[in-house]
């Protein structure tokens, strides 16, 4: 067997009559940055939600590292090694940057049912929290409240949280959506730096970013994968050019 971190087999999901995921089979190879592209409404977020467990597929199977996780809960998938950043920022808004990281660290430590010792002044948690922030270069902002952060900074924090559990697989749903050009460049650099450390499935509309980062690209149109291959293969693919790239470039 190949070294696939993630394998989808004939995944299907309907919303009423709409086939949001239409017989999707996909393999994501270990250590690679794999981009998932497709026009608006193609079903990219829906697919990622099924991989993470927020949505249940109607049929089909999902394998993480060879083991079926089709019926596993979101929390358990996170523990098994999947991290996710959402299309719409999804962080702890009432907490500070460091506090966000510390909550992730608490979960990572597995010692959650502790009722007496204060968490936010625990040196090992603070250290762990800073380590989480350092990966995205946010340690200077540790004490800022999330509600005061710029949009791009929130995206960065969410990336840090997605990486906090040292996942096998990271699902990034348009991680730079809404961030400014500088933040986008910085975020691209951070993601490039993760190459080899973990496996990434990246949804991104910005083709420059996609072609900079991705080693493999899958194209989703109307719920179905119409092509999968290296960036070169995809940019040569006539179907893709017609369905997608042509309208974009």
């Amino acid at each position: 067997m190949k070294n696939n971190v993630l394998e989808l087999r004939s995944l299907r999901k309907k919303f009423g009559a709409l086939k949001a995921t239409d017989d999707v089979s996909l393999e994501v190879e270990k250590g690679k940055i794999h981009a998932l592209i497709g026009p608006n409404g193609a079903g990219k977020t829906t697919l990622i939600s099924q991989i993470f467990g927020n949505l249940k597929p109607d049929s089909g199977d999902i394998f993480l590292d060879g083991k079926s996780i089709t019926n596993t809960s979101v929390a358990d998938r996170a523990l098994l090694g999947i991290g996710r950043s959402f299309q719409i920022s999804n962080v702890l808004m009432d907490f500070s940057v460091l506090e966000n990281a510390i909550v992730a660290k608490i979960s990572h430590s597995q010692e959650t049912f502790r009722f007496f010792r204060p968490a936010f002044s625990d040196p090992s948690l603070i250290e762990g929290g800073f380590a989480i922030l350092k990966r995205v270069g946010m340690e200077q902002m540790a004490d800022r409240k999330v509600s005061d952060l710029a949009h791009g900074e929130r995206r960065l924090l969410e990336l840090a949280l997605a990486l906090a559990m040292e996942p096998l697989l990271v699902l990034l749903d348009e991680p730079m959506a809404g961030a400014g050009p500088e933040d986008t460049i910085f975020m691209t650099k951070v993601i490039a730096g993760l190459r080899g450390q973990t496996t990434i499935l990246l949804i991104e509309h910005d083709m420059d970013v996609v072609f900079q980062l991705a080693e493999r690209i899958s194209v989703l149109v109307e719920g179905a994968v119409i092509a999968s291959g290296t960036p070169d293969e995809i940019s040569q693919n006539r179907l893709v050019r017609e369905a997608y790239l042509g309208s974009d470039q």
Binding site: F52, N54, S73, V74, A75, D76, A78, L79, G83, R84, F86, N90, V91, L92, M93, D94, F95, S96, E99, I102, V103, A104, I106, S107, H108, E111, T112, F113, R114, F115, F116, R117, P118, A119, F120, S121, K145, S147, L161, A162, A164, M165
Partner: protein
């Protein structure tokens, strides 16, 4: 660690210290009636603090927590009915019963959220209410007259013994909660309130933490109810009427639901107004003194609308992050 707690939760410590010395004030000025009012404040304040674990810190709007007070009160009443007078035993019974009920109700109710959670918690509370109404053996609707329980070391009929027993339990609960809300568990609970889906994505199963919080809050309300029975020397389904669940929520919102001391502040203001407004109106506008709620209602609405964060919020503290919140 205890020293550290002194530096934080200033308001809560001040209230506890004032409560500890309050009887000196009442005996100096010969106002024993006020001891009674303050015991009621402590009892409802404690129940509201318990509810606030789920409501303010966990973001779960439970509209049936008076039922746990009722179960605690009946644990005292029914035990005594069968000759089990020991108050410590009754407190333990209350805690265990409310803990078990909390697990059952929480397990079912926490599958829902939003308005459905409010309705289902209210429905369970009403079921318990009518269950006790139907218990003819224990007085049904009319309730059960009882004596103050026997707490071995101190006879509750001695002056002030009941006051200090209630104070002791309140102080113990307060200190436990100071530790709890800053602990890993407490932080996770507040994180769930802030953003449940992010907490889940971090690998934590929100239901486990919400259920644990729910059970803790049920137990605290049960302890309050058990002592309430001794204070009132009477138990009836009235203690768990749905309007009391509403009162507890108003007390919390009035005081400030993101603060540990909020429910106590709320209970002080709520019950003092309830005590003083009718008299005050009697002097100022006799025609409406019967309907003092006419003033009370709008006053509450004003605090809720204009004083974001309740009275605790108004009193200062623009600090909003979870770490800073606990300083007041």
């Amino acid at each position: 660690m205890v020293l550290d707690l002194f530096k934080k939760f200033t308001t809560l410590w001040i209230i506890l210290i004032v409560l500890a010395f309050f009887p000196i004030f009442t005996s100096t000025f010969d106002l024993p009636f006020w001891n009674d009012v303050v015991m009621r404040i402590m009892l409802l304040g404690m129940a509201a603090m318990g509810l606030n674990i789920v409501f303010g810190f966990g973001g779960m709007v439970s509209f049936g927590h008076a039922a746990f007070m009722g179960v605690g009160a009946y644990c005292a009443g029914i035990s005594q009915y069968y000759g089990l007078d020991n108050g410590w035993y009754q407190l333990l019974m209350s805690a265990v019963s409310c803990g078990i009920l909390g697990i059952l109700i929480g397990f079912l109710a926490l599958r829902t959220s939003g308005i459905y959670f409010i309705m289902i918690t209210l429905a369970f509370a009403q079921m318990l209410y009518f269950f006790f109404v139907s218990l003819e053996e224990f007085g049904g609707d009319d309730g059960l007259i009882m004596d103050r329980s026997d707490f071995i070391f101190f006879d509750l009929y001695e002056p002030l013994r009941l006051y200090y027993l209630i104070f002791f339990i309140l102080a113990t609960v307060s200190i436990m909660l100071m530790l709890l809300i800053r602990s890993r568990f407490g932080v996770i609970l507040q994180a769930i309130k802030s953003n449940e889906s992010r907490v889940e994505a971090m690998g934590l199963n929100p239901l486990k933490f919400k259920l644990t919080g729910y059970v803790i809050s049920a137990i605290i309300c049960g302890l309050s109810g058990c002592l309430f029975a001794s204070w009132q020397e009477f138990v009836s389904p009235d203690i768990m009427h749905w309007t009391r669940s509403g009162d507890l929520m108003i007390i919390i919102i009035l005081g400030g639901l993101t603060y540990l001391a909020g429910p106590l502040v709320g209970a002080i203001v709520f019950l003092l107004l309830e005590e003083l407004l009718p008299d005050l109106l009697h002097v100022l506008f006799p025609p409406i003194s019967e309907n003092w709620m006419i003033i009370f209602g709008p006053l509450l609405i004003a605090v809720v609308l204009f004083g974001k964060g309740g009275l605790m919020g108004v009193m200062g503290s623009k600090l909003k992050t979870a770490a800073n919140r606990e300083k007041t």
